[in-house]
Symmetry: C2
């Protein structure tokens, strides 16, 4: 093999070797596993049914945000109180987004901002878990 040809061969071989990796990346990118955004709220008036209901009504408005693909709202389930179970929160929201970009868009959406303005006086603590489904 001439020097010139050998160079070409090596370049082509390297390019071909990279193909599966590139397709792997595309696959990963096109994979539609959702991103989960799970938020737990602790009310200032812990245990207040009225405040809890008000917060739930507020949370329901968030389903109008385009990036929010699914919204579940809940309260602690009456499962066995084992040491590892944290059932001290008052209200929880569980959202599905298509991806991180969806969650980012949600954070700055006017409906979300209005929700925070109108309802944030109700809670004293929030914990958020963002989870990429694999």
């Amino acid at each position: 093999m001439q020097k010139q040809n050998r160079r070409k061969f090596i370049a082509t071989a390297a390019a071909l070797a990279a193909v599966p990796a590139i397709f792997g990346q595309l696959d990963q990118k096109n994979k539609k596993e959702p991103m989960i955004h799970h938020v737990f709220f602790w009310l200032k008036n812990a245990g207040s049914q009225a405040d809890r209901q008000q917060l739930i009504e507020g949370l329901k408005t968030l389903s109008a945000i385009k990036a929010v693909k699914k919204l579940l709202i809940g309260t602690p389930a009456a499962t066995e109180q084992r040491g590892v179970v944290d059932n001290s929160y008052d209200v929880s929201e569980l959202m599905y987004f298509d991806n991180i970009e969806g969650q980012n868009a949600y954070q700055v959406d006017p409906i979300h901002k209005t929700f925070v303005e109108k309802y944030s006086h109700l809670w004293e603590k929030v914990v958020v878990y963002d989870m990429q489904v694999i």
Copy 2:
């Protein structure tokens, strides 16, 4: 209307008036809002890709449990690091059950017990949130 008939009429009217309320209660009871069981794991070897993968493989076995209606496994999403976001965990599992009884059955299922036996050496901390969707 004779006295006897009037009594019957009143009793029938009262019974009929109660029907929507009874059906409402049944509707509520038959409503199939799921119970969500969301577990976060912190590995002993925090950040170990090998241990993370091993735990994920273990978690996948849990989908064979009849009471588990849906299982999502994930890792922290690369969302903005705001103060309220806890992205310190290594792996998370999100399960749907039909109800609390389903979750109770899951806890004592042999597949779950085997999972705990085989994989609990991997984690140093677990936090569980059980949420009744409303």
